[in-house]
Symmetry: C2
Subunit: 227 residues, 2 copies
């Protein structure tokens, strides 16, 4: 069984809470509960109202929406240490996305009122929340830019480069953080198209694909690659 002490320790490791005093962490702990999710399990549906936000501890969560025709679009992939749901918590509006565990996962739920208390007690915490939301916004604007004025190949390349980090121009191996189906959706394309693009890039000698392992052979050239 997990004790409140565990939760306190986990909270204090999160970027968002790292600089809080022990007493503040303690009061946050009171409003926090741990949730275990099995692979494929829904955390919340589209349209739900949240009374607090979440932080992933382990596993992987996908945020997505699905259209009337049943096809779904992945908006974000959440890994350990990342939070989600802040915006709708503050807005008190129904969530535009649903959250589902891609693998067995553990998340923390932090009650809205605990957050408000922390904001009241510590304006630096408020600033950190603001910075967190700003980063999220920044990322979404980036997504919109990608979707609207880059080709599918360019989006895949951007994704790969981000995956290997700002590494040097040598060969770098990395592993896809999820199934190709999920990655494709995140990049706003079909699995078929992603498959073809990867095949293509491999043909040009820019990358090597072996299952989920992808080796970027020449980052510089990949950056410059223009279909």
């Amino acid at each position: 069984m997990n004790t409140p002490i565990d939760i306190g320790r986990m909270l204090s490791k999160l970027p968002l809470f790292q600089q809080l005093r022990d007493s503040e962490i303690f009061s946050l702990t009171a409003g926090t509960r741990e949730i275990e999710l099995a692979k494929g399990q829904m955390l919340f549906q589209k349209g739900y109202l949240l009374d607090g936000f979440y932080v992933a501890v382990s596993g992987q969560i996908k945020l997505a929406f699905s259209s009337a025709q049943g096809n779904e679009k992945v908006v974000a992939l959440i890994g350990p240490g990342q939070s989600f749901g802040e915006a709708i918590t503050f807005l008190e509006k129904p969530s535009p996305v649903f959250a589902q565990a891609l693998v067995d996962s553990r998340v923390l739920h932090i009650a809205k009122q605990s957050i408000f208390a922390a904001i009241n007690g510590d304006s630096a915490f408020a600033c950190r929340m603001l910075a967190g939301l700003s980063m999220r916004l920044h990322g979404l604007v980036q997504d919109v830019e990608d979707y609207s004025l880059r080709s599918s190949t360019q989006r895949v390349i951007g994704f790969l480069l981000q995956l290997v980090g700002a590494a040097a121009s040598g060969a770098t191996e990395c592993e896809l953080p999820a199934s190709k189906h999920v990655i494709a959706s995140r990049l706003n394309l079909t699995p078929e198209t992603l498959s073809r693009i990867l095949h293509n890039l491999a043909e040009f000698g820019l990358i090597a694909v072996k299952g989920k392992k992808i080796t970027v052979l020449d980052a510089e050239q990949l950056k410059r690659f223009n279909p």
Copy 2:
């Protein structure tokens, strides 16, 4: 010439600042300056660092980015009372978009330090900033959803319905808030396509177009219209 008193009055009318005390408004005023923009004038370029954010007082500002190939994409249209640039102010990152006046406009620039002071003095203000950013995020998620799983016709319909508001099913006239070129870009399509779609909807008897004036003849049927 505009005196500080004018600025104070304008600030206190903005949603973001409405509940601040007079003394707080006064200290914000000190960090605020007014900027006049001629039609077509740039407020800031893509890549700029902002030392504060903006609030439109009159006129209309477009936020957009442009690709290497020169075509540009409108992310948001800012009208009087709306603020923009908060996120990059908090993040201290280069702006992913540029801001340009579509008509002669006046905006206020509120210095970062004044905002931080206000957050420190009033946690309710911090919450309002958080809510503001959350709303922005919500809107962007909505945009991403529209772009990725709705057809161009559906996007235009959504735009028109939003324009006439949640009005009853009768005929409602409204005016496009900008040139069709700008609207098209905001909806992520070319002017040609927008033109064709409007023509199409008119042919089906759902709307009537006369220059910038558009009359939604049957909102209910328009909602249900499926190409």
